[in-house]
Symmetry: D2
């Protein structure tokens, strides 16, 4: 049985590069030889034991690679093709998928919904930080990479670009909107780009790291607010002349950011939540206007599937958004443990790390 290297969750605080068998595939699957992948903030939650996965699981959900083998029922692709798959790999055929809610894709034996069920790689099945990856429901999830795009150019499509953009899309951002994006990590930066793509004309980014605030400006922020240098809520109310924002995108996953987003909304505004929370949340009565302010709080998991990937690669190909500068470091898969160490400690100005396999 052929062997491959894979980054495996062993126990809390230990993700280790190990030898594992190359995955078998079934009739609906594809086997991808990974050429480039990356580490996500969520993987760090897994590393720290904050998000539970089974011991022995291969981590990672952002695959770029080449089709090594196709299941017998997978039409429309050929071996040797360069492809990506989304972090979320819906089946396409559950009731959830047929409601347009593939991120909550469920088993076919019951109602077809399962919370976060669309997220499989590195969560419920082996993931992408390995030499090979089995892609479930491949016909619904593989998407060919245009020849003129490098791996690095499309590396953000599977997760953070899809997630960040969805913050603006779900928030219903439209032409002329005032939008705040609270926290400018990779997801928040993509939310800034997404807000601009949806027509927002005033985009306020909130963070305290100057490199991130600079990048936000390049991606479309018209203003940045350093929350350590001022009272950010007051500053945003000042910038909007007391009006407040149409859409506030929460991109961190904490009570203070969630609450601040509510507090800068105009009546009738929308809080679009992207963060992964670790605790109960509090909705402050005043910010919520006692329930009478026509405030919507929307949330969601990254949209996946091949049509989403096709669209996001089209955004890249036509130059609408360029996220290459988010990739601040590159490591070989052989050195992925070092990459985890760097990323977990957020050293050296790291934003995203490209993990390369092969020679």
């Amino acid at each position: 049985m052929a062997k491959m290297k894979a980054a495996v969750f062993v126990e809390k605080n230990r993700i280790v590069l190990e030898d594992k068998p190359v995955p078998d595939i079934g009739p609906l699957d594809a086997l991808i030889r990974i050429t480039t992948t990356t580490i996500c903030g969520t993987d760090i939650h897994i590393l720290k034991g904050e998000y539970p996965v089974e011991k022995g699981l291969t981590i990672g959900h952002e695959p770029v690679g080449i089709i090594e083998k196709l299941g017998s029922e997978v039409k429309g692709f050929r071996e040797g093709q360069r492809v990506i798959a989304g972090a979320i790999t819906p089946s396409g055929i559950s009731n959830a998928c047929m409601c347009g809610c593939g991120s909550q894709d469920g088993p076919h034996t019951k109602h077809g919904f399962e919370a976060m069920g669309g997220w499989k790689f590195g969560n419920t099945i082996d993931g992408a930080q390995a030499e090979f990856l089995r892609v479930n429901d491949a016909a619904a999830n593989l998407c060919a990479i245009p020849d003129n795009l490098t791996d690095e150019q499309v590396l953000m499509c599977p997760d953070i670009m899809s997630t960040g953009f969805s913050g603006a899309e779900r928030g219903g951002v439209k032409i002329g909107d005032i939008v705040v994006v609270w926290a400018l990590g990779p997801i928040g930066l993509c939310a800034v780009a997404g807000a601009k793509l949806c027509g927002a004309t005033t985009i306020i980014g909130v963070d305290t790291v100057s490199a991130r605030m600079e990048m936000a400006k390049k991606l479309g922020a018209t203003h940045v607010v350093d929350f350590k240098a001022c009272n950010a809520v007051e500053e945003i109310m000042r910038l909007t002349d007391g009006r407040g924002v149409d859409v506030a995108i929460e991109a961190l996953g904490t009570q203070p950011t969630f609450e601040s987003c509510l507090n800068v909304l105009r009546p009738g505004g929308t809080l679009s939540s992207l963060g992964v929370y670790s605790n109960d949340l509090k909705i402050p009565l005043a910010g919520y206007r006692a329930g009478l302010g026509d405030i919507d709080i929307v949330s969601g998991l990254c949209p996946g599937g091949k049509e989403r990937m096709r669209r996001l690669m089209n955004v890249v190909e036509n130059g609408s958004v360029d996220l290459r500068s988010l990739v601040t470091h590159t490591f070989k898969l052989d050195d992925i443990e070092k990459a985890y160490d760097l990323f977990a400690h957020q050293r050296d100005g790291v934003m995203k790390i490209a993990i390369k396999t092969g020679a």
Copy 2:
């Protein structure tokens, strides 16, 4: 100066029938001679001092009456016409109104948004529990009553019908949805009717008062759950075979009902909040699926304006929904203090009280 009787907020726990001058009107206003009005749960919050209004304010926001006098700029109506106006009386011309958000109608001198600014009667200007009512922005807010409808038939249109229906509308209820309505007071009962009008086919009402549960069935509930007789969350999960509901409508305004609504949602479902809250709310992490469950929490204040009123009276006129049985008691305006006493203590199975003026 002509005098009239009006129910006035004097101080906490005292709403008193007093003599006040008949209101003057400006060029955009109308003066309505009230024939029928009612008392809302919100008025009880005012009575108890839980919702602050100025001393001396006339209470009430559900007017049915006859046009006594029209301002010089009000076109399209004539004196003597039977009309209603919504509880919410937007100006039509603020930025909020022009965003379709008239309930958050604001002053024209600033950004045009003000939290709850559309609610004026018995909140920021004198209200409807009086012999006469000044209606602001009358051309935008008056709506003629079809001749074949009685005052009692249209008495619920200004507030609770509009509010209850909006719970289903904002929740995006559609054909084949499973909907729960949590709490079956007048608003919740209207939400049941609204869910049915929007195409929900499984409608579960939750309460413990059997008269309310019976009325819910008449208005379209396919199931009722007595939250004192069982664990209601478990019972709803059982009724939906473990799937959960598409839309959960909160119709009370408390932490337990809000939280229970979240806990019975399917992944990707919507919590539509109608309640007026008195405290911060907690979003439990599990029900919220850590922010990754595609859960939306929508809220809002009753839609007003003449087009809304026209549509709601059309619902009544064509027999789609009949809310007359909600009116369990009738009092003269002269006896409104007794009516407040009955309603505040929820005695005698009271649902809604018609307050009649005149002989």
Copy 3:
């Protein structure tokens, strides 16, 4: 090789019951033993050579039956289960499906869109007027029938109920709308029921056959207009007091009905087209207000897939709509040629015919 009886298109004006092999199935398919099916108006177009299909094709796209055999990859069902499948059987995994547009489902080798590509049964693959039916992409398309519903109760779900309801859904019918449905054949009658389910309060049905007009009233029409007894456009403008309708549903597929729908729309209204046209259409300049009237013309093919079927059967199960009276005649499959003769000539007040197999 096992044989079965099947209604086969032989040539123009000849659909004949023949012996054919029982279909083989692949890993994603299911084999259904048909217990009940019906004949659609579209089948008559095929019979008359107005809609081209290959010679030798089995006709029919409205299956009710029992799972005889399941492909190896089909999860969530068991042999012996009573099921329906929609007339439209999307794969779930094409780009079209992932855009929520499964009726235009396309091949996976190209862009994933194909005009009408979701309609396969009795169009591009063998259909349901036979003893057995191969269901493509079975996991996406089969839906179990609740035990308490008869075949006849769910027989309209696969096509005309889904089609008729979609006329109201695509038209955006909402609470308080005035809707006209032009032509009250089976599809138009379902559109009446759909408009009511979506909250329309004034529903005007147009036809000239009194049995159909009577049935429209039972299904929710508040008014019926006999287009032979009056100028229907003028009558509708009179009924709406000169305002016009919010949504006009075209349910026949001819120039006069299409044009009349436009001519009764209020400015800003929507024409929702359900008809299958045989000729170019003309948009009259006046009805279209020279392109400046905010008029939308929406159209579409019947939505399919298992979630749609589940919802429609829920409508039936909860008694929201009862279409049993649409089934005016019953024939055995052995006598299907007689059924075609009756239906093609619209004799004996026929609306829909149940075709039963078995003893």
Copy 4:
């Protein structure tokens, strides 16, 4: 009575600068001293007698100016303020307005809808090509110009920017869409910019004038097609690899452009029509897929009102779109007859003309 100069429709082929009284204003009106305005293609239709207006009417619907006088009921503005008003000036209070359909604003005495009723300036009341303009319903329609923007920078906001953007907005353009804009006059060029603002990543402009095609590229077109140099439908199908476009924006108002838009749509696509038509339109059966292709045809009149104007000026202020290069010529009001002559004959590469009043 004070006099002013105004461009008046005298008879077919004669718009003449005449002396007229400065308008009186009522309590809801404002009087604007025009500083800059422009001539619209629609004005040329009026000039040629193709669109009927009353003799003696002042033409023009794109005002930039200074508040000279405010009606007694107009709050939120002050005399001397620099303002624009939209070409469409809805009242805010009709039923149409309260449905979000202010372009079809109607009289208050009837149903509140009137086809194109929101367009008043230079259509049903005196217009902007004059020294002074009466603005109806001023509180709903005036919008202050940010100090840092010149008249020329905001001159396109009242009409063509609002119209062009609405082509993309009504078409539902979203991230990753392929959009064609057919005809690249001022409206079409604004539609290109609008498509980009809404997230389209492939934008194909069709015209034959090279200056227009160049400008389209600057505003966001990724491809341009010269319809005289090739079969444009075939070229677009080739550019999209046979798929077709998601949204086709018609920006001329002729049968060939309307039909071509249909013919390049993918199944499930949307034709967004901006053109003003002069004849009945034909929908070709094949392009319409016999009514079964999930094709939507949406249309509309330019959105107006102060909130729209505020948003469009924000687009300009934040540099999202710069339309100054559309203004190819400048004339004094005194010379407006020459400007009409130039514009009507489309000489000298004219796109839009700034008409300036004052010294």
